[in-house]
């Protein structure tokens, strides 16, 4: 799962640094991801994992780190 998350971030987060240098807990917004880029990350994750983020999960904290995204995807997969 983490490889796919990082692939999506590399393609859509528009980070000014290499995703490989981002740790699981690093704040992606602090690293340079904008709100608009986070929308693209969300849509790409939906495509990759064949799911849809409900409105209740549309908060900055859902996409703030690799670990947070992993947790959100896990919650969606088990719901």
């Amino acid at each position: 799962m983490d490889d796919v998350i990082r692939k999506v971030l590399a393609e859509y987060a528009h980070l000014p640094v290499d995703v490989a240098t981002i740790s699981d807990d690093d704040d992606l917004y602090q690293a340079g991801m904008t709100s608009h880029a986070s929308v693209n990350v969300m849509l790409a994750l939906e495509d990759e994992f064949d799911l849809e983020f409900p409105e209740a999960m549309l908060r900055k904290s859902t996409f703030e780190s690799v670990a947070a995204i992993r947790t959100a995807l896990g919650a969606l997969a088990s719901s």
Binding site: V39, L58, R59
Partner: protein, 154 residues
């Protein structure tokens, strides 16, 4: 002009790269458009792909600027609940619904003003809110009397 002592103002601003909006449209098409923009906004942003992307980018900037003004804690308003309304003479206003409207009520926001612009690859927007002190008091209570709140995060 002078403001009544029982009123305050909030300002939010944001800037968006027009090229990234164009890329989003190319990558995700109607799923991107319908997740973020209302029917009115999509109808307002006709034109060539380049012009349309610039107009939509300005609207996204306005939505983000308005959310900075609303200062949500946790749950973000649906992007479509913060709408840019374009009037026939070209000027724009903002219309809130759902959670965004609730946040405005809690903050005592009586009026929102918006200004949009785009030039080249950059689109930007500024939103100004006129708030009553009663709403500010209610919001401080909601935030546990935090003096700064969470607003202004980019």
């Amino acid at each position: 002009m002078s403001l009544n002592t029982k009123t305050s103002i909030r300002v939010g601003t944001d800037v968006v790269d027009v090229r990234q909006v164009a890329e989003s449209i190319d990558s995700f098409g109607s799923r991107y458009l319908q997740r973020i923009y209302t029917d009115h906004e999509l109808h307002s942003c006709a034109g060539t792909p380049r012009v349309r992307a610039a107009s939509l980018a300005a609207r996204f900037a306005a939505k983000e600027a308005a959310i900075k003004v609303l200062r949500p804690v946790g749950h973000q308003p649906d992007w479509r609940s913060v709408e840019v309304r374009r009037h026939t003479d070209g000027w724009c206003t903002m219309a809130l619904s759902g959670h965004a409207a609730d946040l405005a009520d809690e903050a005592g926001i009586a009026e929102l003003a918006v200004s949009l612009t785009h030039e080249g690859d950059v689109a930007a927007a500024v939103v100004v809110a006129l708030c009553s002190s009663e709403g500010d008091t209610a919001e401080k209570s909601r935030l546990g009397s935090s003096p700064a709140g969470p607003g202004g995060v980019d």
